[in-house]
Chain length 372, copies 2
């Protein structure tokens, strides 16, 4: 009998940030009948259940035997170790997918280890959070995010379509890549920046008087090195798994770094400008993404005196007029609440109306156009 669900029973093995978010996102839909959380740590599973990321929990892999979809929410190295453990329990025709940040190795391992009749499709959601574990799980984590899948030519079309349908129901955009293409891509856009950010921090503290120097670090340094604060265990594993592609990416980076180094050394103004200008144009042309593909936003910057309750005051003025605030950001915080606040609206009319009503309430506004 054909089930009225896309998947009758889904197992999430490893209900952390990503696994938990998948559970929350899938829970909300009518596509899955039942979601079970499986893992070794009962306490973690219980928390996942409190968060409603899964409907049932178990530490027994035999629960996998009637699952149509098994999501391995574990880090790359754990996932590789898990494959032989779960292999004996999998149902014929089941789809197994992972969420690891590299794809070549896991795809090879899955091909070698999983029995005939099991469909492995590697996955990598391009979404994350600074928070770790289930407490960072968010049912909207994948909205507008890209989600890479790495099928090969033996992947049954029907299995791929079902997995795509589920993932796209989370609001994600699926991209198909082969594992090599994926691993080189993430080496360039994710692993290289990580190495660079860590190296920037490490080199800053190689200078004499580094503590005094660090006082001068402003927004530029802070943003450029933000990801250096990530989990070193996870990143060591990534750098170990994707070394070959990462070394290639570092080579490409070093060549460009040498180029600007020589231009500065030669005091070659034109060449320096050309390199900075190329970067600016390429950067500006890139899709803004971490918050999803936001359209252009119409902004108002509000300068307010230090006064309690000012956010509520401003949003009330706009709320009473039925004007939606699409984004709000406190640009400068002073001792109490207040300072400079950026408001963004999804269209010019709302921006104009908001500016009128705020001005009428004696709030200083300036308008501009930004992007999310």
């Amino acid at each position: 009998m054909q089930s009225r669900y896309l998947f009758d029973k889904v197992a999430i093995v490893g209900v952390g940030l990503i696994g938990g978010s998948i559970g929350l996102a899938a829970n909300d839909k009518s596509l899955v009948r039942e979601i079970i959380g499986i893992g070794r740590n009962l306490r973690t599973l219980e928390i996942a259940m409190e968060y409603k990321a899964v409907q049932r929990i178990s530490t027994d892999y035999r629960e996998l035997s009637d699952c149509d979809l098994v999501v391995l929410g574990t880090p790359v190295n754990t996932t590789i170790e898990l494959l032989p453990t779960i292999a004996p329990f999998l149902k014929k025709g089941a789809i197994v997918t992972d969420v690891g940040s590299t794809k070549v190795k896991i795809t090879q391992e899955a091909r070698d280890i999983l029995p005939e009749g099991i469909v492995f499709i590697g996955g990598h959601p391009m979404a994350g959070s600074e928070k770790k574990g289930i407490s960072g799980a968010d049912q909207y984590l994948f909205e507008n995010a890209f989600y890479v899948l790495t099928p090969d030519r033996n992947t049954p079309k029907d299995s791929l379509d079902r997995l795509k349908t589920l993932i796209e129901s989370f609001g994600a955009k699926t991209i198909l890549m082969d594992p090599q293409e994926h691993d080189l891509s993430v080496a360039a856009v994710s692993h290289l920046p990580h190495i660079i950010a860590s190296t920037l921090v490490n080199s800053l503290f190689d200078f004499e008087n580094s503590q005094k120097i660090a006082l001068l670090a402003a927004g530029g340094f802070r943003d450029t090195t933000r990801i250096a604060a990530s989990n070193p265990d996870m990143w060591r594993d990534i750098l170990m798994t994707n070394g070959e592609f990462i070394l290639h990416a570092v080579d490409v980076f070093r060549e460009r770094l040498n180029e600007i180094y020589e231009a500065i050394k030669d005091k070659d103004e034109k060449h320096i400008y050309q390199l900075l200008d190329r970067a600016k144009k390429l950067k500006t042309g890139m899709p803004a993404n971490a918050k999803g593909y936001l359209p252009q936003l119409w902004e108002i910057v509000v300068t307010v005196p230090d006064r309690p309750g000012i956010i509520g005051y401003i949003s009330n003025i706009l709320g009473n007029e039925g004007i939606n605030i699409d984004d709000i950001e406190i640009l400068r915080v002073r001792e109490g609440e207040g300072g400079t606040i950026r408001l963004a609206f999804s269209n010019e009319e709302n921006q104009k109306r908001a500016a009128q009503h705020l001005t009428a309430a004696n709030i200083t506004t300036r308008t501009g156009i930004g992007s999310g």
Copy 2:
């Protein structure tokens, strides 16, 4: 007769982002009797006056002849060109300061060009904005920001004290450095990150299929390369003026980059971990700053359905209870307004009370501790 003001007449030459913000910050105080904006472009000056950054404007440098303080708000190279132009008009005993991002060259030039009896004290406010020009000026720009001054042993103590008093009245923290120390410091914390960010963008687009690769760029790449979108004219000038220190900083960076490169090549797990862990610890120990020295903030993450007016709704609940929101950030924006919102409070009690009242209003909350 001793004026009852710290400065009787202040000239701001070049009323852009920084000059304009100085005007706004000084305007608010009782320390300055009159602020005049001077420049070549009358239209720009008129806008500065509309913004109330200055009280009078002029395109005539003769206005400098009765000024006690002359603030050169122009970029480094323009400032160097300006010195001989303004030199003949300066009043004996006047203080001249600049806001340029390097200090060795301008200090030498000022010593050579300005007449005896004029006190030049280089300045560099560690504050900025992505906005350019007067439209980004903000009277609170310097609050909690560091502001470097580079006096030398000939600087009269009284002049330095007066300038410090004015700058600290903006809410800034002054740091005294010698020009060399300053230029090496900013090479390490500001210019090097800029080169690195531009180089990351440039190298990404050296890969084959770079357009498809760019689709995978997430928050890490975006943050690490954010400053690559800055003005290439300004940055070419900075890289030209501070080349020597920058090359040294790049050398230090390259040595650390080689170290992690070799560790990845040798698959030396321990060494990779040690480098990542050092960076994480150093980064985590650094003062958060671009928004000033914020104390630890107590956070609540709120997950809300897509519903208009939700920000106003939440801030009303808290406002009615007299609970200040110290920071608010929309973490994920969906099509309309809503998604996940981070609220931060300055103390644990407010965090707890806020969580109670939001929960009572059926809003899902999670608490945590972050830092500004």
